[in-house]
C-alpha cells in the first residue's frame, strides 16, 4: 500500500499507512460495485453490475465489441461524466465510501484511480513535463522532488534508459510503444492506488505489447490493475481474475484459469472458443 507521500492544499481521504489486519477492514481497499447501471441518453449500457474487485491483483474484463467494457471502466473513476447525457444509478464503494455521493471530490477520486487510454495521448510538452504534469497540478512545487519522482517513475516503466538524455524533448517524437509507456508513467507519478487500463496495447506491435505486459506484472505488486482487453490471449496470460461482460451484463467472473479452462456459462464458452464476437 503506497505511503501517502503527496500533500495538497485541499483535504483528501485519510488513508491508514499500514494494511490493517483487522477482518473488518480487510476488504477496505477493494472496489465494491453495487447495482451499477449506466445510461447514455435513452440507451442502457450497463445493467445492474455487482462485483468486488480485489486489491493488488490484475483483473481483466473481456467481451465482444460494444458490450460496455470501456464504459464500465470509465465508471470507476467517474470519467463517464464527461459525456453529456450520461446517468449512473447504483454505487461504487472505494474505501467504503460511495464515489458517486454528492460530497465526494471527483478530482481526488481521479488522483487515486489513474487511467491509461487506448490510444496513447501524451501532452504536446516535453517528456519530463508530461510525467510532472500530475505532480504539478497536485500542488507539488519542489523542483528536486519532481525531478526525482519523474526519474523513478520512468525507471519503473522501463523507459528511463531509452529517454535519459532527452527528457526535455517533445514527447510526440517517441514511438507508439514508448508513448504508451510514457502515459503509464504519467499515471503512476501521482501514486494512485488503482490503475485502469482501457485496451492499452490494441494499437501497438507485439514487442511493445510484451513490454507493457511485463510492466503490468511489476505493477501488480504495488497497485490494483483493472484492464479491459479484446485480446483473450492477453487476458489469459496476464490477469489473475477475469470478468466476461456481454450486452451490459456481467455474465461470469472469477479466477482466470478456471474461467478459461472451465467456463460455467454457455455464453462465456461460446465467446472464448470464438463462436462470436
Amino acid at each position: 500500500m503506497p505511503e501517502v507521500s503527496l500533500t495538497k492544499e485541499k483535504a483528501f481521504l485519510n488513508l491508514p499507512s499500514k494494511v490493517s489486519q483487522d477482518l473488518n477492514t480487510k476488504h477496505m481497499n477493494n472496489i465494491i460495485i453495487k447495482n451499477l447501471s449506466l445510461m447514455y441518453g435513452k440507451k442502457q449500457v450497463l445493467k445492474n453490475i455487482n462485483k468486488e474487485i480485489e486489491e493488488k491483483k490484475i483483473t481483466a474484463i473481456i467481451g465482444p465489441s460494444g458490450c460496455g467494457k470501456s464504459s464500465l471502466l470509465r465508471c470507476i473513476n467517474r470519467m463517464n461524466e464527461l459525456i453529456p447525457d450520461s446517468r449512473v444509478d447504483g454505487e461504487i464503494l472505494f474505501h467504503n465510501k460511495n464515489i458517486y455521493a454528492g460530497d465526494t471530490d471527483v478530482t481526488e477520486i481521479r488522483r487515486k484511480i489513474g487511467m491509461v487510454f487506448q490510444k496513447a495521448n501524451p501532452f504536446p510538452k516535453s517528456i519530463f513535463d508530461n510525467v510532472a504534469y500530475g505532480l504539478r497540478i497536485n500542488g507539488i512545487k519542489d523542483k528536486k522532488k519532481i525531478s526525482t519522482t519523474v526519474e523513478t517513475t520512468l525507471q519503473d516503466c522501463g523507459l528511463l534508459k531509452e529517454v535519459k538524455d532527452r527528457l526535455h524533448t517533445p514527447a510526440m517524437e517517441l514511438s507508439g510503444g514508448q508513448q504508451q509507456r510514457l502515459c503509464i508513467a504519467r499515471a503512476l507519478a501521482i501514486e494512485p492506488e488503482i490503475i485502469l487500463m482501457d485496451e492499452p496495447c490494441s494499437a501497438l506491435d507485439p514487442s511493445s505489447t510484451f513490454k507493457i505486459e511485463e510492466l503490468m506484472m511489476k505493477l501488480k505488486k504495488r497497485y490494483t490493475v483493472i484492464i479491459v482487453t479484446h485480446n483473450m490471449q492477453q487476458a489469459a496470460r496476464a490477469s489473475d481474475i477475469t470478468g466476461f461482460l456481454y450486452m451490459g451484463e456481467l455474465i461470469e467472473y472469477g479466477d482466470t484459469n478456471a474461467l478459461f479452462t472451465n467456463p460455467k456459462e454457455k455464453l462465456t464458452e461460446n465467446y472464448i472458443s470464438g463462436n462470436f464476437g
Binding site: 510526440m172 508513448q179 499515471a187
Partner: protein, 532 residues
C-alpha cells in the same frame, strides 16, 4: 464531355484561374498605388517653356493630355510652384502656344517651409541693398546652419517650453483644488509654495521666450534673391528654405540618394503645410499604438467569451442568445460603433471618470472627450466577433483525448483549460487576432467620432509620466488619407501623397500581421498532433 468533368480537371483549372485573377488584381492595385505614389519623391527635371506671347514659364511637367473637345490638340500641365505669388501651384499651357523649351542647368527647385515649392534661378545673397552673387555650393553650408537653427528653435518650443507648460498646468490644477478646500494654515502655506513655484517657472518661461525671440530675429538676417521665370526677383529668407537642389544637373545616383532621403523624411518627420507636405510619422505612430491597444483589449475579451460559449455552457437558450448576438455584432456598420463609442465610452464612462478623478480640470474634459483609449475600445468591440469565432475554432480543434488525459490525472476543468486546452488553441487565437488587427487598421469612420484629429500636437507616447497618455487625441493613417485627399487646401499638389500614404498604411498592416503570423507558425510547430 462528362468524362472530362468526372476527372475534376475543369475544376482544378477553374480554381487556379480564379486564384490567379485575384492575385493579379491585388498586385495590380498595389502596383498602381506604387506608380502613382512613389513618384512624388523623385526630383523631376525643370523645364522652361517659351510661349508665343513672349512669356516664359518654368516648372516641372506634371502631365500632357489632349484638350477635351478639340481633337489633335494637346495641353501640358506644369507645376510652377510659387503659390504665394501666382496663386496656384499648377498651370495649363496649350501645346500650340509653345515656341521652344529647354532645361536650364542652373534652374533650382526650392522647398520652402510655407507656400510650397519655388522654381527659379539663384541670383545671390542680399547684402544691404545690393546683391552679392553666389552659387549653390556656397549656399549649402548656410542652409545647413539654418536647419540646425530651425531644429534648436523647435526643440525650445516643443520640448523645453512644453515641459514648462506641463509643470504649470499641474501646479494650476493643484492650486485650483486647494482653493476649493476649506482654508486653514496648512492650505494657505501650500498655496504660498505653489505660487512661488509658479513665479519661478514664469521667470524661466520669459527667459526662454527671450531666447526664442533672439533666435527668430537672427533668422531674418540672411536672405537670398531668386529670379523667377518671368524675370521677377523675389527675396527669400534662408530660414524659409528646407531644401534646395538643381535637378537638371543631378546624376541618377544623386537623384536616387535624394529619393531615399525624401522617403525617409516622409516616414519619420511631422507633417507641415496643413498635412500636404512633410512626413506622416505621427499618423503611423498613432495607427500602430491604437492597433496594439485594441489587440490587448479584444484578445482577452474574445477568448473568454469563446471559452464560455464552448466549454462552460450547455446548449440552452441563454448560450444561443449570446452566440447570435456576437455573430450579429459582425454585421453592424462601423459608424454605428462610433456613435456607441461616443455615447457610452466618451460621454458616460469618460464623463464619469472626469467627475471622479479629474474634477479640477473641468469644464475642460480629460477623458470625457475623444481619445486613443476610447477609439481603441470602440474598435475592439467592432472586431470581437472575429476573435470569438476564430477562438472557438481553435478550441474545438483540441483533441478530446488530451482533455481526457488531463482529467484522468485529477485536474479540474479550469486547470485543464489553462494548461492544455488554451495553449493548444493559441494558433487559432492568434489567427483571430490577426484578422482583428487587419480589420481595425482599416476602419476610419468610428475613429473620426472617437478621437482622431487632423493634426495632433503631441504623440500618445512620450517622455512625461505616465508615459502613455490614453486621453490624448491621435492621428491615423486612414484618416490622414481622407484628409490629405479631400480636405486639404491644395488637393492637386497633395494627390500623390494620398497614394504614398495608402502604401504606408498597407505596409504597416502587413508588418503587424507578419509579426503575428510568424508567432503563430512557431506555436503551430510546437503543438503538432500525436505521432501515432
Amino acid at each position: 464531355m462528362k468524362k472530362t468533368f468526372k476527372t475534376g480537371k475543369p475544376y482544378i483549372w477553374l480554381s487556379g484561374g480564379t486564384l490567379t485573377i485575384s492575385l493579379l488584381m491585388i498586385f495590380g492595385l498595389i502596383a498602381l498605388i506604387m506608380i502613382k505614389g512613389l513618384g512624388i519623391f523623385w526630383p523631376h527635371n525643370i523645364t522652361r517653356l517659351m510661349l508665343n506671347d513672349n512669356s516664359i514659364v518654368l516648372g516641372e511637367i506634371a502631365k500632357t493630355e489632349p484638350i477635351p473637345n478639340h481633337k489633335d490638340s494637346y495641353r501640358t500641365k506644369l507645376k510652377v510652384g510659387n503659390r504665394d505669388i501666382f496663386g496656384m501651384d499648377f498651370r495649363w499651357v496649350d501645346n500650340s502656344r509653345i515656341i521652344s523649351q529647354d532645361s536650364p542647368t542652373t534652374a533650382l527647385t526650392i522647398e520652402r517651409r510655407e507656400w510650397g515649392n519655388m522654381y527659379g534661378f539663384l541670383k545671390g545673397m542680399k547684402h544691404d541693398n545690393t546683391i552679392k552673387p553666389m552659387n549653390l555650393s556656397d549656399l549649402k553650408p548656410l542652409l545647413k546652419d539654418s536647419n540646425i537653427l530651425y531644429k534648436s528653435i523647435r526643440h525650445i518650443e516643443k520640448k523645453e517650453i512644453g515641459k514648462i507648460n506641463h509643470k504649470m498646468e499641474k501646479l494650476r490644477l493643484a492650486l485650483k483644488s486647494l482653493e476649493n478646500e476649506p482654508q486653514s494654515d496648512n492650505t494657505i502655506k501650500r498655496i504660498g509654495t505653489i505660487n512661488t513655484k509658479v513665479e519661478a517657472l514664469e521667470k524661466i518661461y520669459t527667459e526662454k521666450v527671450d531666447t526664442l525671440t533672439n533666435l527668430y530675429a537672427s533668422t531674418k538676417d540672411k536672405e537670398v534673391v531668386i529670379e523667377l521665370a518671368d524675370g521677377r526677383k523675389e527675396t527669400l529668407s534662408v530660414f524659409q528654405i528646407v531644401r534646395i537642389y538643381d535637378p537638371n544637373r543631378m546624376s541618377i545616383y544623386a537623384k536616387s540618394r535624394f529619393y531615399v532621403l525624401k522617403f525617409w523624411e516622409f516616414v519619420s518627420a511631422e507633417p507641415r503645410e496643413a498635412n500636404t507636405e512633410g512626413g506622416v510619422f505621427p499618423a503611423i505612430f498613432g495607427t500602430v499604438i491604437m492597433v496594439l491597444i485594441m489587440s490587448l483589449v479584444v484578445t482577452p475579451l474574445g477568448v473568454i467569451t469563446a471559452v464560455f460559449l464552448r466549454e462552460y455552457t450547455s446548449d440552452n437558450i441563454f448560450s444561443r442568445i449570446v452566440r447570435i448576438s456576437v455573430n450579429n455584432l459582425a454585421g453592424i456598420p462601423s459608424i454605428v460603433f462610433g456613435v456607441f463609442g461616443l455615447g457610452f465610452f466618451i460621454y458616460f464612462i469618460g464623463g464619469g471618470i472626469d467627475k471622479l478623478f479629474y474634477s479640477d480640470a473641468l469644464p475642460t474634459p480629460t477623458f470625457g472627450t475623444g481619445g486613443i483609449l476610447w477609439a481603441s475600445l470602440t474598435l475592439a468591440l467592432l472586431t470581437v466577433p472575429v476573435v470569438v469565432v476564430a477562438t472557438e475554432e481553435g478550441l474545438s480543434s483540441v483533441p478530446n483525448s488530451l482533455k481526457e488525459a488531463s482529467y484522468g490525472l485529477g485536474a479540474t476543468k479550469f486547470e485543464t483549460l489553462w494548461r492544455i486546452t488554451l495553449p493548444q488553441a493559441t494558433p487559432g487565437i492568434l489567427t483571430g487576432m490577426i484578422l482583428a488587427m487587419a480589420r481595425a487598421a482599416g476602419e476610419v469612420a468610428p475613429l473620426m467620432i472617437t478621437g482622431v484629429v487632423k493634426l495632433a500636437p503631441s504623440l500618445p507616447l512620450d517622455s512625461y509620466s505616465p508615459f502613455i497618455h490614453l486621453e490624448r487625441k491621435f492621428m491615423h493613417l486612414g484618416f490622414h488619407i481622407y484628409d490629405v485627399g479631400f480636405q486639404s487646401p491644395n488637393v492637386e499638389a497633395a494627390l500623390p501623397m494620398v497614394y504614398t500614404t495608402t502604401l504606408i498604411l498597407i505596409f504597416t498592416v502587413l508588418v503587424l500581421n507578419l509579426v503575428a503570423i510568424i508567432a503563430r507558425n512557431k506555436l503551430r510547430k510546437k503543438y503538432i498532433s500525436s505521432a501515432l
